[in-house]
Subunit: 215 residues, 2 copies
């Protein structure tokens, strides 16, 4: 059964981005450190076309990010805030470079209609202006029997959690406090969400806790 799931890196005090997010610092002050656990993994090195890297529980978790995922959903800021003056001759194609790591259809929640944007390597960004349910329906159709991954940011995840659409979530808890920024598990109607623990994996850099949402 295809699942709607997400995995996200989070500080011990619950933030997925630090304060004062900007185009220069999209993860806010201190927010990049949330992802340090991934940089040493074999999976990350492979993604960069490098060899080496550690094969450890964090590597296994990272590798699952795109495993059995047939479509992704993300918010407008996750696609990429525009870093400079608008140039119609060179439309902005997001943070993700010419060949984004998805290799499947990605549905971007936005208020601005735009034609689909086909990138190299099988990733096409579709811009959805009709809200989260429409994006989910389109993603399900595109994913077939595979899972759908919500890639963030916090507000997008919150909307799907609050509406009861999420089947599985994994938090990669980094050993740090951010003391401000974007908190993940606020505004999600939390007392109505029941969770079943599926797995805990840990390295010194992150503790990965995975839960099923009980419906």
């Amino acid at each position: 059964m295809a699942k709607l799931r997400f995995r996200i890196s989070i500080s011990l005090d619950g933030y997925v981005a630090g304060p004062n997010q900007s185009v220069k610092e999209p993860l806010g002050e201190g927010g990049e450190r949330l992802h340090e656990w991934v940089f040493g993994t074999r999976w990350w090195k492979q993604m960069q076309g490098e060899s080496g890297g550690e094969e450890n529980p964090s590597s296994a978790v990272a590798a699952e990010t795109f495993q059995n995922v047939g479509a992704s959903i993300m918010g407008r800021n996750m696609f990429g805030g525009h870093p400079g003056p608008w140039n119609p001759a060179k439309p902005w194609t997001g943070w993700w470079g010419a060949e984004p790591p998805y290799h499947h259809p990605v549905f971007v929640l936005t208020h601005h209609p735009r034609e689909p944007l086909e990138m190299e390597g099988g990733t096409t960004f579709y811009f959805v202006t009709e809200g989260i349910v429409s994006a989910l329906q389109q993603a399900k159709k595109a994913a077939g029997n595979k899972d759908i991954s919500i890639h963030g940011g916090a507000k997008t995840i919150q909307q799907y959690l609050a509406a009861g659409h999420v089947d599985e979530l994994q938090l990669s808890i980094a050993p740090m406090l951010l003391a401000g920024g974007e908190r993940l598990l606020d505004n999600v109607n939390g007392r109505n969400i029941r969770l079943e623990h599926l797995r805990t994996l840990a390295t010194p850099e992150a503790t990965h806790v995975k839960y099923r949402v009980i419906t």
Copy 2:
């Protein structure tokens, strides 16, 4: 080297008590579920004078609560809010019954001076009105070479964290959201706190993450 440490049960969204705490519901609405992981452990059964219970990672974590602890510190509400009209003939002795589980000196932060209260089994409550540093000094003296445990609540822990006194912390993360109540890791000057991961242990009922505070 004697450490100042605490272990506390916490929801996935960071609360150590639910909303609307009262004398009847000292842990707030839904807050008791934070501690469900402990009730099935062998350690808990033994505390209750019962046999059985599971010997699992949660049991090991629970057993450490009082291991090598020579003194404890707690806030006034943790000692116990007074549940009824004041009766000078029968002074209130807290939540903890005639023989509290500490079996060592316990320093209670309060604004109300009171003579020490000696209970059965080696627990004496000392009431400290001079603030957290004084309580820590007294506890250190009482503990000798053993550790000092902060037993809560959140505000007491926050004060010691913010002031840089804590050496080690362990969070027992329960698979649930409280969506309100008392949050642990707010107001702790968090971006100045550097943590080193020491250990992760897990059962389906809780994920226990232990960190050293780097000074």
